[in-house]
Amino acid sequence: MRTVVSLMLIAIVAAGIIVSLSQAPVGAEAARQEGRLKQDDVNFGRYYNNRALEETGAANVVASVVVSYRGLDTLGEVAVLFIAALGVATLLRTKQERKPKGEVEQASLIVFTGCRFLFPLILLFAAYIFAHGHLTPGGGFQGGAVTASGFVLIYLGCRGRAVGAKQLSATESLSGLVFVITGLVGLALGGSFLLNFLPRGTTYALFSAGVIPIIYIAIGLKVSSELGGIVGTLAGEGE
């Protein structure tokens, strides 16, 4: 019974999608084929691609869209991740009886040494990714995710070693504050939130694009600590 109703619902959704796609061409490729893209200046993508390099000085257009043009979305999104980290910590706060250090089953020596060798390298790579977000593919989110995979490695390879929950919490608060305050400084100086108030610098240089690298590094630290906290709590190592 339940299966039949579910399948009917799915069929309705599928029919809706098919009708919608057949009625009107969706997407940039369809627009290009019909020649709609030529005349209009309304299309967001066109506008950003043409203006981003000049306006923000960031070579990676996606970075300038994420951090600058749609910066409020990104602020909301790090808030969502912050909520998730808080929520996971809240829900799993009743501690499992933690085994004393000696009784934790250790990974083999090779895995242990390998993890300890790789962890700093992973962190270095992550820092590279989020510091170069405005120049090359990558940025705060990707770098943060890479850091969190480094944490996963620690939890797997070096059992019993927790990353300090307090330090993570302090990092995420501080980097979130850096993001908000940078935005508010833009509001105070130029009358609109997240305004790029620093000089643009030379394109393709590491120190260019004004506030974009600052915000992206703050996002990187924030995402690292939040994802790291989520992973740690779920792995049962947090608190």
């Binding site: 009625q23 009107a24 409020l72 909301g76 999104e77 909520i83 908000v180 509001l187 997240l194 305004l195």
Partner: protein, 495 residues
């Protein structure tokens, strides 16, 4: 004049600060939500007169709309922002005492983020930004519903989370379709172009968006999560979920249907859906023995009435709906807050255990009664003008269909009156049950930290009920903000 963006940015920053302060001190974090909401209240009230003259369009990154995310603080948005910060402030003050023992800095940060999400939803002028703030609102409510980690809380959090997550994915598909069709995300810009594409394609994307946002708005087939979530959460959270969170959902649906799509054709359907929601909610509430579940079902019923009034699509109907949004936010918050300590003292959520409370907790019971009468729609409380406006709007349609529908809606109100009178009768005229309350001493009235917020809400209910003009003078502009698409587009895009 300050930019309305600080209504979002400052609470967000304070929420980030809350956990940092939580590392330093046990006491400080619990005052932060109240401080942030007081700040928001002051700023919103300062901005309201400006917004009434013309919507304040706040741009980000120095680009004018539609090319960057913009906030549109129109009369409706600012009115709801005042409402959110007022109710948020009252409940935050209540929670300082009520959640005192179990709340840690995480609770306060999550609570503040929930309110920030709601404020963002009502202020933003960008469709994807609406989605992001909507997610902030939803995800913090999932976490808060399960905050205590007890059996019912976790179970209802699981249900709520599954339905909410699927709903928001569907909404995102709708946004994807719209972006694919128009290449823009600004609601005003989409509204301007919406007629240039085949109606069928547009209709499908609207179906996705309305289904997605409708999960939070608790319209009929999508509201299975609500009674569980609202009844299992801590009372202060139930109050904010019933008072504010579902209103933000309704706002999102209304904004999409009225402003973005201008879909007049489906409004009869909307009215009927609202009516079904009303009947389902009130009928289920009538059967409940658990006080918090009863209040949750009653919320569904009231949301049904609001949706019905929006479906009338006349200026007067929308004004009535907005009045009801305000009155329900006050009354339902007050109901949950005043029952909070009754439940805490008796340790039971059964209605029968509340018998005789009128003598033992006189102030809480009096406030409960005021709020209940207001929900039923008795004068001189705030619920009366709202229901009156909706009835007169439905009759003004001069359409047999709407006359029949409003008659059915009135039947729902009668049912509502029946169960609330039953409870009030129990509060005052029934003997204290033998088993419940043996452990209660003489002085069981709620502490002062809870009574002050409760009384503030009760006074507001009576004051606005006696003198509805303080609210109605804003409603005309707010209803026009929702219904007049051309003006909205003109204000935002300046064309």
């Amino acid at each position: 004049m300050v930019s309305p963006i600080i209504l979002i940015a400052v609470p967000l920053g304070l929420a980030f600060l809350t956990t940092l302060l939580g590392l330093l001190s046990e006491k400080l974090p619990k005052y932060i939500p109240a401080v942030a909401m007081a700040f928001n209240l002051v700023v919103s009230i300062r901005l309201l007169p400006h917004a009434l003259q013309a919507p304040i369009v706040a741009k980000t990154v120095g680009l004018s709309p539609p090319f960057s995310i913009h906030l549109v603080a129109g009369p409706l948005g600012m009115m709801l922002s005042v409402l959110i910060s007022l109710v948020g402030l009252v409940i935050a003050a209540y929670a300082i005492g009520y959640m005192g023992r179990e709340a840690r800095s995480r609770y306060h940060a999550l609570y503040l983020l929930l309110l920030t999400g709601a404020t963002g939803v009502v202020l933003t002028g960008d469709l994807f930004n609406l989605f992001v703030f909507f997610e902030i609102l939803c995800i913090s409510s999932y976490a808060l519903v399960g905050y205590r980690g007890d059996k019912p809380g976790i179970e209802s959090a699981a249900k709520y989370l599954i339905q909410g997550a699927v709903g928001s994915s569907l909404a995102l598909v709708g946004i994807g379709f719209l972006y694919g069709l128009f290449g823009t995300l600004s609601m005003a810009d989409i509204a301007r172009n919406i007629t240039s594409v085949s109606p069928m394609a547009v209709f499908i994307s609207m179906a996705f968006l309305v289904t997605g946002f409708g999960v939070e708005a608790a319209v009929f087939p999508l509201n299975a999560w609500l009674p569980d979530a609202h009844s299992s959460a801590p009372s202060s959270i139930s109050a904010i979920l019933s008072g504010i969170a579902i209103k933000a959902g309704i706002y999102a649906v209304a904004r999409v249907v009225f402003t973005v799509y201008g879909a007049d054709a489906i409004l009869v359907f909307v009215a009927v859906v609202g009516l079904v929601t009303l009947l389902v909610g009130e009928m289920s509430a009538f059967r409940q023995k658990n006080i918090k579940r009863l209040l949750a079902y009653s919320s569904i019923g009231q949301m049904g009435l609001i949706v019905f009034a929006l479906g009338l699509a006349s200026a007067r109907g929308v004004e009535g709906a907005l009045f009801l949004v305000v009155s329900h936010a006050f009354a339902k918050a007050l109901l949950f807050l005043s029952t909070g300590y009754m439940i805490y003292r008796t340790g039971s959520m059964e209605i029968s255990s509340l018998h005789g409370m009128g003598r033992r907790m006189p102030v809480s019971s009096l406030c409960f009664t005021i709020a209940a009468f207001s929900l039923i729609g008795l004068p001189p409380f705030i619920g009366f003008p709202g229901k009156f406006m909706i009835i007169s709007a439905a009759l003004a349609k001069a359409d047999t269909l709407f006359t029949v529908l409003i008659a059915i809606a009135l039947f729902g109100t009668v049912v509502e009156g029946a169960y609330f009178f039953r409870i009030v009768q129990g509060l005052y005229f029934k003997a204290v049950p033998e088993d419940a309350g043996a452990n209660l001493g003489e002085d069981v009235e709620a502490p002062l930290s809870a009574l002050v917020p409760i009384c503030v809400l009760a006074v507001a209910i009576v004051a606005v009920g006696v003198c509805p003009y303080v609210l109605t003078r804003y409603l005309g502009a707010a209803a026009a903000d929702l219904l007049d698409r051309a003006a909205y587009i003109r204000h935002v895009l300046g064309v």
